[in-house]
Amino acid sequence: MPKQMLKGVLGFVLVFLGLIGVNAQEKYIDKNGIIIFEASEKLFEEVKATNETVTTIFDAQTNDIASLALVKAFRFKNALMQEHFNENYAESDSYPKAIFKGKLVDFKLEELQTESSKVNLKGKLAFHGKDKEIETIVTVQRAGDKLAILGDFIVTPADFDIKIPKIVRNKIAKEVQVKIDFKLAKK
């Protein structure tokens, strides 16, 4: 009888430890992720900005992924363009962040080998007070405790209720290409 009890307790402890272990190693974080967006038109000045301090958290247990970019951290080559972007288009004083919340659909981290694999990323991008559903294929690669996520998708200014004045309409592309480059480390 005591032996049986001991077994039970031992089993319980093992399961408990296992749970702690699993919980402790499921989060992947990147504090310096890169997002580049580009809406350049041929013959006109480049409309392109880079943010190199994007935060991304991936939970390998639920496949939930959340990404946050501070709008003011997007840098343009042209400072004046950056100012216009912040003041007239993104209105970053009123809407300081862009947040993506979504999932890596049917992704199984434990089955991921070192070679990269294509994964469906689905979620919602909130920017300028508007939400936009995003669905795209990203490349996920694992190297030890690191996880790289690379991809791109297209949005339009209208998706986020951003009006482009007529005078610059032919200098800004109708479609904005957004590229993501995240390198997450296990925490």
Binding site: K31, N32, L70, K72, N78, A79, L80, D93, A185
Partner: protein
Amino acid sequence: MNRRKWTFAVLVAFFTLAMVWLGYAFLSGEHRSISEEEAVFDLSAEQLFMDWNREGGKRFVDQTIIASGTITEMEKNSVILDNKIQVNFIDMALELSNGDSLAIKGRCVGYDDLLELVKIDQASIVN
């Protein structure tokens, strides 16, 4: 007479060049140089974080700030001070390690809800 013409021509050329230069400077728009700007706030990482959470960070956003603290984490060209602020340096190569105390000057970008950190970029070390 000839000399006058020449002087006039030179003046016109000079004026035109100046206008072109001004126009160019205006259109291309120079970026701010945070390291050369006077800091508007000088406070500890802890204080910045507390003030931000108490009253919102509007008065800090886009301002040049000097912040001090101890390095609790490092990643690429960034450090975390006292688990409260993330500082991204302009220069990559930095001889810093965990536990170092330092003061930095940079631009306050905003608040990161995911990690609960105040973010600062374009930073340089001031001590």
